[in-house]
């Protein structure tokens, strides 16, 4: 069996593996010890009752059955999904549009790029304060003035009404985060070879066709990244909701509650870490499914 060829092949394979592992090790060891470990523990916690101090008590799937009978959790799940379905594609389109716009040779490009990134880095308090001024539920708010005087419709109560609160949160987060994803797209655009555009131009392609047949396909790895990161961050939305829709004593009510807010509430208000972990595990599974679907899509273009 052990012909010299297979043995050397196997040896080479092993060498290859070792080299690869050596690349991964510095990051992976830190990651595994300090992040992956606690996460695995958190998933074990989902099947226990634990307050962070007293001994853990295994309760099987009780945490999960309780979750799905708790209407704060089911509302959170529903709101998070609705939020993500709208926010992911809209942010992606805005970010790509901005990146293409700001990748052109325009004057004061640095200025415009920085400005676009700004709401992402500015203090959330400031950004939310400005937003609340524009989208104030009173008739004096700028958007309501616009609605009444230009569109002749009734003023909206925005974040103060159960009908429009999610809309307000979605608009806000697109505005705040599109600059972030624009940066990723900008970096991605730099990887596209000028030759491809030249070749397309020779074939008589117009601006739209260049975009359709060169830019978009070349940006696939970036889009994969952006889609996954966006999906994950949308499912993890938390502080925006708290800032915009926190009511009495900061409690977010069922119309706007999201998953991570629920996790926070269970973990640090009620100290039910088991139940919090169970909610996080549900979130994890949803995101994992979405990621796996994306992953399947990615295989098609992998350049081997």
């Amino acid at each position: 069996m052990n012909t010299p060829i297979t043995r050397s092949a196997r040896k080479r394979k092993m060498r290859q593996n070792l080299v690869a592992y050596s690349f991964i090790a510095p990051n992976f060891i830190g990651f595994a010890v300090f992040t992956l470990g606690p996460i695995i523990l958190a998933f074990i916690m989902a099947f226990t009752e634990w307050d962070g101090n007293n001994p853990m008590k295994f309760v099987g799937v009780d945490n999960f059955t309780n979750l799905f009978t708790n209407d704060r959790f089911t509302s959170a799940l529903k709101n998070t999904i609705v939020y993500s379905i709208f926010t992911v594609p809209l942010t992606l389109i805005m970010a790509l549009g901005l990146a293409i716009l700001l990748n052109q040779k325009i004057k004061a490009r640095t200025f415009f790029r920085t400005v676009t990134f700004f709401p992402y880095v500015a203090s959330l308090v400031a950004v939310a304060a400005v937003w609340n001024m524009l989208f104030s539920p009173s008739k004096g708010g700028l958007m309501n003035q616009l609605l009444m005087n230009v569109f002749h419709t009734d003023p909206l109560k925005w974040a103060a009404s159960p009908k429009t609160v999610m809309l307000t949160i979605i608009l806000f987060s697109i505005w705040k985060n599109m600059g972030y994803y624009m940066v990723i797209y900008l970096a991605g655009l730099q990887g596209i070879s000028e030759d491809l555009y030249e070749a397309a131009a020779l074939d008589g392609a117009g601006a739209f066709q260049k975009f359709r047949y060169v830019t978009l396909p070349q940006l696939k790895p970036t889009t994969f990244f952006v889609t996954i990161m966006l999906t994950i961050s949308c499912f993890k939305i938390y502080d925006i909701v708290y800032m915009l829709a926190g009511g009495s004593n900061g409690v977010v009510n069922k119309n706007a509650i999201v998953l991570v807010y629920y996790v926070y509430e269970e973990a640090f208000r009620n100290w039910k870490l088991g139940s919090a972990s169970a909610a996080a595990l549900v979130l994890f599974v949803i995101v994992l499914i979405v990621t796996l679907i994306q992953f399947r899509g990615e295989k098609n273009y992998a350049n081997d």
Binding site: A32, G37, I40, I44, P55, M56, F268, R269
Partner: protein, 468 residues
């Protein structure tokens, strides 16, 4: 494969370490080598701290914990918030260390906004080296007590013969399953702040220490001016549920953890009508705008503000530095009361000290807690313009004499409460009940639900929690 193994091992190690760190059993697990910090793991089981002599507690390397004999230097760590903006921490420490020069007290500032989260995390497991922790509110106390990280104080209190009656009943309201885990050192009561200038301008008499809610409502409406651009608000309610919902518990017939909330209805209806008529600012706007109640009061166009006595020192200092100039002419009166109820019933919040079960220097910690919550501490608190938990005539006089406190007799008298009901009495489920109540308060004030619908939701929601 190897990596997967490592991560599996990691998980297991974590389970072991965290479980080993769990509570009192810790002393029985010598297999745990990771004793890196704190030389003296005084892991005396909580229940054993009873009357037996301090010597029993003192392990070989613990600093001589017997306070009487102790001259050896001890440093204790005190977890608190707002170290730099709270005026009484340092005087309290100075007061204590003057008599105990061997003790150093180190303040650990965990921040105000997330205090409960940080404290709860720090106290998880048994490695925490805090000796004294400040307890911000009752839900916070209950969660920590349920976690079993606080030392029960009953036996220590019995042993030292501490008279709890000076706390006028608070200590009974903060017992968790009949065990006392904290000793209060600060108690704030709710009063009605008012701006005398607003009343003068409207030519209306000032509020008094004996007003019914109907009279209060009438007064608020009298001084209100809804002229756009020059609004005067008769009343102001901050977005907390306590500003409205808890008016209902002051007749002493209901508590907020009962499970039925129909008694809140008249108060919600009163405030909703005020909101509709422009007597107070709109809740939805306040909520999104994030306007702080103090900023609202400093505008000078708010007639009456129901708020805790904690606002007194802040208001005085802000008037001094000019920001509160438009409210410089202020006064306080007692909370209004329901028809047929003795005036002076009000809401209270307490700030208290507790000792973690993991505290390295429990005896010194207890001695310090006794000092801060006792008569000497109360004296120091009052000297800084803050209301100590131990309330009596002398203390109230001291506060009323403070520079900047209103000089009228009614304001001084307002500091005395006939009955003080905690905003949230201790209950196993405090924090979950709180969520339901806050949620429905928001729904009512935003006019998303009618008062009846929201009360129905509160009743079913809280009853479900209590039944768990």
């Amino acid at each position: 494969m190897k990596k997967r193994l490592i991560s599996m091992l990691m998980g297991v190690t974590l389970v072991v370490t965290s479980l080993a760190g769990c509570g009192e059993g810790g002393a029985q697990t010598p297999a745990q080598p990771a004793q890196t910090e704190t030389p003296a793991q005084t892991e005396a089981p909580a229940a054993d701290t009873t009357a037996d002599a301090p010597a029993a507690d003192t392990t070989a390397d613990a600093p001589a914990a017997d306070t009487a004999a102790a001259d050896e230097p001890v440093t204790i760590k005190w977890a608190l918030w707002d170290k730099d903006s709270t005026v009484y921490y340092q005087p309290l420490i100075d007061g204590y260390t003057a008599a105990h020069p061997n003790v150093t007290i180190e303040m650990v500032d965990l921040g105000s906004t997330d205090y409960q989260t940080v404290l709860g995390t720090q106290l998880s497991g048994s490695d925490c080296d805090f000796d004294v922790v400040t307890i911000k509110d009752v839900p916070g106390l209950v969660t920590l007590a349920n976690k079993g990280v606080l030392e029960p104080l009953d036996s220590l209190i019995a042993q030292d013969g501490i008279d709890l009656s000076v706390y006028s009943g608070i200590t009974d309201q903060v017992k968790v399953s009949d065990v006392l885990y904290e000793l209060p050192f600060r108690r704030d009561i709710w009063v009605l702040f008012y701006n005398k200038d607003v009343f003068d301008k409207a030519g209306v008499d000032y509020p008094t220490n004996d007003m019914t809610w109907e009279q209060y409502d009438e007064l608020a409406r009298k001084i209100t001016d809804t002229t756009p651009g020059a609004e005067v608000y008769g009343a102001h309610y901050h977005t907390w549920r306590s500003t409205i919902q808890l008016m209902g518990i002051l007749d002493g017939k209901h508590t907020i953890v009962d499970g039925t909330y129909d008694f809140t209805k008249p108060y919600y209806e009163m405030v909703l009508a005020q909101q509709k008529d422009g007597v107070c600012m709109d809740y939805a706007t306040l909520k999104t705008q994030g306007l702080h109640y103090s900023a609202a009061f400093y505008q000078g166009n708010v007639g009456m503000l129901n708020m805790g006595s904690w606002f007194i020192p802040t208001l005085i200092s802000k008037i001094k530095d000019g920001e509160g100039a438009a409210a410089a002419n202020w006064g306080i009166v007692k909370y209004p009361h329901a028809q047929g109820v003795e005036p002076g019933s009000t809401l209270a919040t307490v700030t208290a000290l507790a000792i973690p079960t993991s505290a390295p220097n429990k005896d010194v910690a207890w001695d310090f807690v006794k000092f801060v919550s006792g008569a000497e501490g109360a004296e120091i608190m009052a000297g800084t313009g803050n209301t100590p938990a131990m309330s009596n005539e002398a203390i109230n006089s001291k506060i009323a004499e403070m520079d900047g406190f209103p000089t009228d007799a009614a304001s001084k008298e307002a500091l005395t409460a006939s009955h003080a009901y905690l905003e949230m009495p201790a209950n196993e489920k405090s924090s979950e009940i709180e969520t339901v109540l806050n949620e429905q308060h928001d729904n009512i004030m935003n006019e998303v639900s009618t008062v009846d619908e929201a009360i129905e939701e509160m009743n079913t929601g809280v009853q479900a929690i209590l039944a768990q």
